[in-house]
């Protein structure tokens, strides 16, 4: 088959539109017009604004720049308080339209407030920005220095990524969720898929809620990918409407062609998947949760963009209902946003979690990146519903972090050691 006969993947179509071309192919270097730029307290105004002052320039578009303070919230000392104040002052100075100050973790806030739509080209000042790709848009992470350029010019260069297609068929067994897929993929596909996009599909993915789809796209970051994406469907459109955004008439046309040229195609079976755990010190170091039963846990942590959505708190409550956190273990829970916090309070989930002995924390990035409450001491062992377990990630460089689904983290909190959560779901 000749090259020209091949169709385009979703990411190629979006980059073509954003770069003003009829079509693009992997490897091409293009400049894209940005539809949405999210900057956060940690690498946002604090880093971007001094450079803007140095250059004597303002922002490119106050409506398209979204500022979200989520990393150092709430402030714990004058340094973090000052970082949050810089974000507030920046928003005032440039009259930024959308500012989410201590409302929750940016990646979730974007979806909750209807900022994402199929076909968009979006940039985020955080590595887990690919989470937005669950809405069928291109969203990738960039550092503060590059977001400076975006905030000033509204443009960014990219090398059109190749697309890896990952299809999952079958149905999950009870206690198995999207996080178990992500930890499996880190092991199977490796963590060095730089400058590639990963497109997730198949009946298992189609059956997922938007929150679960977000887990897959979020952890495309752990695969090292430029972005993770899921072609939009009725589930996508329903979530947009719920967030107050009416989808464009052509929203469902943002999908890969049937004859698209993928760099690789992988298929997996969800029917046989078991709850997974990633052992220290990398997400690809994963295996069945049941293999780690001798690992005693000092701290169990439910938090972060990937692991503290409403459905995640429901998973935790399903394990904790009628049970208590083990006396040798502490369970910390930081719902990802204030909306999620309120919903979990309204439907009784919070009281189940608190009655079991959990400690509730503020909505924010928190302990996941050692920037908020819940930091680990020397030699401690933690299991977390977060996405990274690099050495020193959650505090001391001698601490050990295991990753698991919210089910698996809650099961460890109750057992006092890592366990297969299915033993707690009957």
């Amino acid at each position: 088959m000749s090259r020209t006969a091949l169709g385009r993947t979703l990411v190629e179509k979006i980059i073509a539109r954003a770069s003003g071309k009829d079509s693009v192919r992997p490897g091409e270097i293009v400049t894209c017009q940005v539809d949405l730029a999210m900057i956060l307290d940690s690498g946002g105004p604090r880093k971007v604004w001094p450079r803007m002052k140095e250059l004597g320039v303002g922002v490119w578009d106050r409506d398209k720049i979204i500022v979200c303070s989520d990393h150092f919230v709430p402030a714990v000392d004058t340094e973090t308080a000052n970082i949050l104040k810089i974000a507030r002052d920046f928003v005032k100075e440039f009259n930024i339209t959308h500012f989410y100050d201590m409302v929750g973790i940016g990646h979730i806030v974007l979806a909750e407030h209807g900022h994402l739509a199929p076909g968009m080209f979006a940039c985020g000042g955080d590595s887990h920005s690919p989470m937005g790709g669950a809405y069928g848009c291109y969203m990738a992470g960039f550092g503060g220095i590059e977001m400076t350029g975006v905030v000033i010019t509204g443009e960014i260069w990219t090398r059109v990524p190749e697309t890896i297609r990952v299809d999952w068929s079958g149905k999950f067994a009870q206690g198995v969720v999207a996080k178990d897929i992500s930890l499996t993929l880190c092991r199977e596909l490796g963590m060095d898929n730089a400058f590639k996009a990963v497109e997730f599909g198949g009946e298992t993915v189609r059956a997922m809620s938007m929150g679960e789809r977000g887990v897959l796209c979020n952890m495309a970051a752990e695969l090292g990918a430029e972005t993770g994406m899921i072609e939009p469907d009725e589930t996508t459109l329903a979530a947009m409407r719920k967030a107050g955004r009416e989808p464009d008439a052509d929203a469902l046309t943002w999908r890969s062609d049937d004859n698209a040229a993928y760099a690789a195609k992988h298929t997996f079976d969800a029917n046989t998947l078991s709850p997974q755990v990633a052992a220290p010190h990398k997400p690809s170091n994963s295996g069945p949760a049941g293999d780690y039963k001798n690992v005693k846990v000092d701290q169990a942590y439910i938090g972060a963009c990937v692991g503290a959505k409403l459905e995640d708190l429901h998973m935790v409550a399903a394990v904790l209902k009628g049970r208590k956190v083990a006396p040798t273990t502490r369970l910390l829970v930081a719902p990802a946003t204030k909306k999620i916090y309120a919903a979990a309070a309204a439907d009784g989930t919070l009281s189940t979690i608190v009655d079991a002995g959990a400690i509730m924390l503020a909505s924010g990035c928190g302990a996941c990146a050692a920037m908020g409450a819940g930091i680990l001491s020397d030699g401690e062992v933690c299991i977390a519903s977060t996405n990274r377990n690099f050495k020193g990630r959650m505090g001391s460089s001698t601490a050990e972090v295991y990753l698991g689904s919210p089910y698996t983290v809650a099961a460890a909190a109750v057992a006092g050691h890592i366990a297969d959560p299915r033993e707690f779901l009957n």
Binding site: E54, E226, F390
Partner: protein, 166 residues
């Protein structure tokens, strides 16, 4: 200005951004953060690295976070270039934007700690002055060449905006 000579600091595979810029120092100013770069991997690095020294590493160098401090630390220490088997995407982009040349270097295992290395990021050559071996490498991508020769995104933007570089 794009040819540098310095001592090799050699690291392994999958050295991540939490090791380069530990989370507990993320709130600190850059001058403080740079002292903790790679401290749990090689505590001598941040203390002894000199301007122009060359960092050599295995695959997926800089995997992890978007935090710019991970790359900025090497710019603050005036590291002359980073040679790695492969780079994580955001680290690679950040480092180039801070004016630190990053070159894909599959022969990384042939470099020993302390070797004297000469790197020409524009011409695409690496010379190990200690062993006498020379290598051709992919130069910096053409569309980024001007930014790199300008010294990074900020000097580049200053030039584009018609202001003199400080």
């Amino acid at each position: 200005m794009t040819t540098v000579t310095g001592k090799a600091w050699v690291f392994g595979d999958e050295v991540n951004t939490d090791l380069m810029a530990p989370g507990i120092y993320m709130k600190a100013p850059n001058e403080e953060m740079m002292k903790h770069c790679l401290e749990s991997v090689d505590p001598t690095f941040a203390k002894e690295v000199k301007a122009g020294d060359i960092v050599v590493a295995g695959h997926n160098w800089g995997v992890g976070s978007a935090r710019e401090q991970a790359a900025l630390n090497f710019a603050m220490h005036k590291v002359g270039a980073i040679l790695a088997d492969s780079f994580a995407r955001i680290f690679y982009r950040n480092a180039l934007n801070f004016g630190v040349p990053c070159l894909f270097f599959p022969h990384y295992k042939e470099i020993k700690a302390g070797d004297q290395i000469r790197v020409d990021a524009v011409g695409g050559t690496v010379e190990n002055l200690t062993s006498g071996k020379a290598y051709k490498v992919e130069p910096i991508p053409a569309h980024l060449m001007e930014m790199i020769t300008d010294g990074g995104l900020m000097p580049h933007l200053k030039k584009k905006l018609g202001k003199s570089a400080a």
